[in-house]
């Protein structure tokens, strides 16, 4: 049941990969996320070279986001105008990120960059989500009323030039913050192989204060453009995209995602967020742990001369 992956140059058990794709797809459908942050660590654990894992799953994110965007577009829940601005930033970010990743690989510091970004971003976002959703659950149990939130956007959003109207999101703000957000997500997608939804969605909700109904669809739209760009750049610059690997993952992924999405309606939003926050936090800690634990093998090969 093993299959030889032509770019990764290893052979792996393919039913296991389909199962992995389905599981990650299920999680991504359930929580409405791309699931890239879960996929990369597991692929690396299975023995796929990290560079190939990160690059190949970017195309898996393209597939899972495409089916998401189609369903959101049907409900008219995408703001293509602000999504386009963010996607422009995402393309620039992907360009920067792929070059940065290439440079770090040559320096032998790619592992450090991946571990640090997982620890920092997943750790912080996971802890925040867990804290916020647990607080909400506690208040519901005690029957308290949620405290009044500050509904105003940060003032600096209005001080910037290049203001644009985004009617669907109910915004009239400068194009610079969404563009910068896109750049940031693009860099992350190149280094971590993730779509960046876990950063984009909170930022769009709490910083830009977009209408909640269009946030997820718009972030998925931005993610498709960014990860598609990342895939092409990783293939073109680093030759690390394994089409066989990503196809096997997607076959499981798209099916899993549909079942996950169906099941998600049965749970309360804050419960789902609490579980997701916990998963995100654990993955971040797990990936960051290698920085602090004495490795059993001090030496390792750095890519560069061989490929």
């Amino acid at each position: 049941m093993d299959i030889y992956l032509p770019i990764a140059e290893v052979s792996v058990n393919w039913p296991l990969l389909v199962l992995l794709g389905a599981t990650v797809g299920f999680v991504s459908g359930l929580f409405g996320i791309g699931g890239g942050f879960l996929m990369a660590p597991i692929l690396i654990f299975l023995g796929i070279p990290p560079a190939v894992a990160v690059a190949s799953q970017a195309s898996h994110v393209v597939a899972s986001s495409t089916s998401g965007v189609i369903s959101y577009a049907g409900k008219k829940a995408i703001d293509f105008r602000i999504g386009g601005v963010m996607a422009g930033g995402g393309v620039l970010g992907a360009l920067l990120g792929v070059e940065l990743f290439r440079y770090l690989r040559l320096l032998g510091q790619a592992d450090l960059a991946v571990a640090l970004s997982y620890l920092m971003f997943l750790g912080a976002i996971g802890a925040l989500m867990l804290y916020e959703s647990l607080g909400q659950i506690l208040r519901r149990v005690r029957g308290e009323v949620a405290p009044h939130r500050e509904r105003r956007r940060p003032l600096w959003l209005y001080g910037l030039p290049l203001r644009m109207r985004f009617p669907r999101s109910g915004l009239y703000i400068s194009a610079i913050p969404p563009f910068a957000l896109g750049v940031f997500a693009g860099v992350l997608s190149a280094i971590m192989g993730v779509g960046g939804g876990f950063i984009l969605v909170p930022a769009m909700l709490y910083v830009l204060r977009m209408k909640a109904g269009v946030v997820v669809g718009t972030s998925l739209f931005q993610i498709i453009v960014t990860t598609a760009m990342t895939t092409i750049l990783q293939a073109g610059r680093n030759q690390t995209v394994d089409i066989v690997l990503s196809t096997i993952l997607l076959l499981g992924g798209v099916v899993g995602a549909q079942y996950g999405a169906r099941l998600s309606g049965r749970f309360r939003a804050e419960e789902l967020r609490a579980v997701l926050g916990l998963i995100v936090l654990l993955v971040g800690i797990q990936m960051g742990l290698e920085l602090f634990v004495r490795p059993s093998e001090l030496f390792s090969f750095a890519p560069g001369a061989v490929d």
Binding site: P6, I7, I232, Q234, A235, V244, P303, V306
Partner: protein, 269 residues
């Protein structure tokens, strides 16, 4: 009158075949591989090739057989994790040359019993005798009045680094030495197995079969072996490396199409 027949030509004494004559008084080894081409396709999980051969040994001295299989040269960049302020960080990568992508030895006895250190080093036989070094790290200096002393910037750690190259490759089953890997199946007839793991590099491999007598190499037989990707794997690999941009575009389109297809299928059911 009886016809006079010419006298019959004298029987020509046929010379014995050259090889048999040579083996009468010369110690020789001959060997062959069951497969000179290893094809890597989608079901490739490594390969096991049998090298078999014969030893012609008319003398009374026992002879030892050493099989060395060497893959194409693959320089590596090695990093070492060091602890800086409580965090384990990679050092600057060091380029090591002279490390083949695959290396195995199989012999009738442990190598140090077969020949002396210097002899093995000269022939490059054995994992300890691979000419792995880091040329960029070395420089020549004058020390104690002796000129052109080669020192390494890696300092005292140098041997650790070299050993790590071998250890990491051994862990990936790319390097192997089996002191009992050559097995005599009959008088003068031996076999040895070459185990190629799935991660074995593609390219031309060379196999040397050495015959040692009293610690001296007396005969050698050279064979070649090619490991190549075939079928769809080869096509994908070539496509990804020759036209990387179009390949990336195809990957994205395939992914987008799969996502679209899935949403169509699931909307109907």
């Amino acid at each position: 009158m009886l016809p006079v027949f010419p006298p019959p030509p004298p029987a020509v004494e046929a010379p014995p075949p050259e090889r048999s004559a040579a083996t009468l008084d010369e110690v020789r080894v001959a060997a062959a591989l069951t497969d000179a081409r290893v094809l890597v396709d989608s079901s490739f999980r490594g390969a096991s090739i049998v090298l078999y051969g014969a030893v012609f040994n008319p003398s009374d001295d026992p002879a030892d057989v050493v099989v060395v299989v060497r893959g194409p040269d693959a320089p590596v960049r090695l990093v070492k994790k060091t602890r800086n302020m409580g965090v384990w960080l990679n050092s600057r990568p060091v380029l090591f040359e002279g490390a083949p992508g695959f290396y195995m030895t199989a012999s009738t006895r442990p190598l140090p019993d077969i020949a002396e250190f210097g002899q093995l080093r000269r022939l490059g036989v054995g994992l300890d005798h691979l000419r792995i070094n880091a040329p960029e790290e070395s420089r020549t200096v004058t020390r104690y009045g002796v000129r052109d002393v080669v020192v390494s910037r890696l300092g005292a750690d140098y041997l650790d680094w070299r050993r790590a190259v071998i250890r990491l490759r051994e862990a990936a089953a790319l390097y192997n030495s089996d002191p009992e890997g050559v097995e005599f199946v009959d008088e003068g007839l031996f076999r040895a197995e070459v185990e190629l793991p799935a991660v074995a590099p593609t390219g031309r491999y060379s196999a040397e079969v050495w015959l040692f007598q009293d610690g001296e190499p007396v005969s050698v037989s050279n064979l070649t072996l090619t490991v190549e990707k075939v079928g769809i794997e080869r096509d994908i690999f070539e496509f990804a490396h020759r036209r990387p941009w179009s390949y990336g575009l195809v990957c994205v389109l395939l992914a987008a199409f799969t996502g679209w297809g899935a949403s169509r299928v699931f909307r109907r059911t």
